[in-house]
């Protein structure tokens, strides 16, 4: 009897959760579906859900008319470059804080996180001005540096929490066996740290890919990544639903896939360890 009730309840939960889940996911699903329609079908009334003539022409047109690949490449360079650069700078810092902690470690860590709270708009003009003076406006190099700096606190933080999970005894044992600092890092620490570093890279790549304040304000044509490319569709002449959907689908698809792998890191990376 009790078992029957549980099964019933489970069925109800399942149904409810799937309905809610699909409802939340619907805008994304609808965008993906629309990207395979013709423009006429995309605005048909009543809306067509599945029984339309699937076509790939929107994707071809988006690439042909706006050189989509260039924006995609900019996004890859900017998000990838800023993440790699950030990790290179953050690994030693996080390592030092995790394994050679001092009285000030906690303060330094908190201070670093607090720089992440600085509202971008508060320093918009200085950065804009510096970019003009240094010839960095609308350059990928400039955005790589800025996005690296805004994500550096999160990168340091995540690496620190991962490194701290590595048991210190192993390092001591290595030291006892006469390993130098270099050997210790290279042969003992690195293999154990790789999963944490990979997770950090993943989440920060996603954050940099989706960043839409600096990428919109510091680029024009040459260095514009997908965030800025998509924003250009907001002008009235860009009002073609199917093409807009094709461009959007291409911009979010890689990140949706990466994102599904990074659910756990999301909690760790964005709550600064305050929720476990």
């Amino acid at each position: 009897m009790a078992r029957a009730v549980t099964t019933q309840r489970k069925t109800f939960n399942t149904a409810l959760a799937w309905i809610v889940g699909l409802l939340i996911f619907f805008p994304i699903l609808w965008t993906i579906l629309t990207s395979f329609k013709t423009e006429a079908q995309a605005i048909a009334s009543p809306p067509i859900f599945l029984n339309f003539d699937w076509t790939l022409e929107n994707y071809a047109i988006v690439q042909e008319r706006s050189d989509y690949m260039r924006f995609l490449w900019n996004s890859v360079i900017i998000a990838g470059g800023s993440t790699i650069l950030g990790v290179i700078i953050a690994v030693p810092a996080a390592w030092a804080m995790a394994f050679v902690p001092s009285k000030r470690t906690k303060d330094i860590l908190l201070w670093m996180l607090s720089t992440k709270m600085l509202p971008a708009v508060g320093v918009l003009y200085p950065i804009y001005l510096l970019f003009i003076r240094l010839g960095l406006l609308d350059s990928r190099a400039g955005l790589v540096v800025v996005l690296m700096l805004i994500n550096l606190p999160i990168i340091v933080w995540m690496l620190y929490t991962y490194f701290r999970e590595i048991p210190g005894e192993i390092l001591e044992a290595a030291r006892m066996d006469g390993a130098t600092l270099k050997e210790e890092i290279l042969y003992v620490l690195t293999p154990m740290a790789i999963p944490g570093i990979a997770s950090t890279v993943l989440l920060n790549f996603i954050l940099a890919w989706n960043e839409a304040f600096w990428t919109l304000n510091l680029t024009a044509v040459n260095a514009a990544p997908l965030t800025a490319f998509i924003a250009s569709y907001s002008s009235p002449e860009g009002l073609f639903f199917a093409k807009l959907s094709a461009a959007s689908t291409m911009a979010i698809a890689p990140i949706l896939i990466l994102g599904w792998f990074s659910q756990k890191q999301l909690v760790r990376g964005l709550t600064f360890g305050a929720v476990k």
Partner: protein, 288 residues
């Protein structure tokens, strides 16, 4: 335990990150402070000298200041209320035993990974377009006259778009917190005959207290500076000009750098007030 040598090596290893972040913080901040005390119009005469606190006074006494404060409060407050309440309900639902839990979780989390310009544009056109949007179809189906949501109901529309983006974040964090709840405690309460609502108020909600605080603080910091969603949908028109957007317009659109910088300083102070509370919780957690 750490030797003098390893300490100095550690300091050296931390140096690049510390120096970079210090520069990233101090250089622009100093410049913003500097400009905020100047009458500085790059396109109309450039640097026109020191003006004391003039910009600070003018920023708050301009006719667009209080509407911007109001817009900011409505967006932050509205999104927080929606995401926290729905997030709790959704987290409790996802915590129940069900078939295909992993897939449902993915569906719910997906909006968080959509870049802001895409979600703003998709909502604006494919859902909220007064002629061809899905909402217009839906309204007509029920015999109602579709409205142009982003101009006639601009604030609720933007709150809805931003809530859609942030609901996954709230849900995921609250779900993580719920999963750490001792299920025996709940079962015991159930056996003692406590009705579901009582169990929620006396066991689940207190347990979630800290996670809710964190969600509120982190989201507040991000929501105070939302930009792309407004940039793409209304461009700050129809009463959707937030403080962030107002400062952006002052600085880049009308190139009144002094005035915009004073606004920027207000924004920094505001964000810091929120950040202090957040840092306190994070700091306590570091000790544990």
């Amino acid at each position: 335990m750490a030797t003098q040598h390893s300490r100095s090596v550690a300091r050296l290893m931390m140096a690049p990150a510390v120096v970079l972040l210090l520069g990233w913080m101090l250089v622009p901040l100093t410049m913003t402070l500097y400009f905020s005390f100047k009458k500085y119009l790059p396109l109309r005469g450039g640097d026109l000298g020191w003006v004391g606190f003039d910009n600070y006074v003018r920023f708050v006494s301009s006719s667009s200041f209080w509407p911007a404060v109001q817009a900011t409060l409505v967006i932050v407050g509205g999104v927080l209320a929606i995401t926290v309440v729905l997030g709790i309900l959704l987290a409790m639902l996802l915590d129940q035993p069900m078939w295909g839990q992993g897939v449902v979780r993915i569906l719910v989390i997906a909006p968080f990974f959509v870049m802001p310009t895409v979600s703003a544009l998709v909502w604006k056109n494919m859902f909220m377009d007064p002629v061809n949007g899905l909402f217009a179809h839906l309204w007509r189906f029920f015999g109602a006259e579709p409205i142009s949501w982003l101009s006639e109901a601009s604030m609720p529309s933007i709150v809805m778009i931003v809530s859609w983006q942030w609901l996954p974040f709230a849900t995921l964090i609250l779900l993580t917190a719920i999963q750490s709840l001792d299920s025996e405690q709940l079962e015991a309460a159930e056996m003692d005959g406590a009705p579901p609502l009582k169990r929620f108020y006396h066991i689940i909600l207190p347990h979630l207290g800290r996670a809710i605080t964190i969600v509120i603080l982190i989201q507040t910091i991000f929501l105070l500076s939302i930009f792309a969603e407004i940039f793409v949908t209304t461009g700050g028109a129809f009463g959707t000009r937030t403080l962030t957007y107002l400062i952006f317009q002052r600085v880049l659109e009308s190139q009144n750098v002094g005035l915009g910088s004073a606004g920027g300083v207000y924004a920094i102070i505001l964000a810091n007030i929120v950040a202090i509370f957040l840092m306190r919780i994070v700091g306590k957690n570091l000790d544990a």
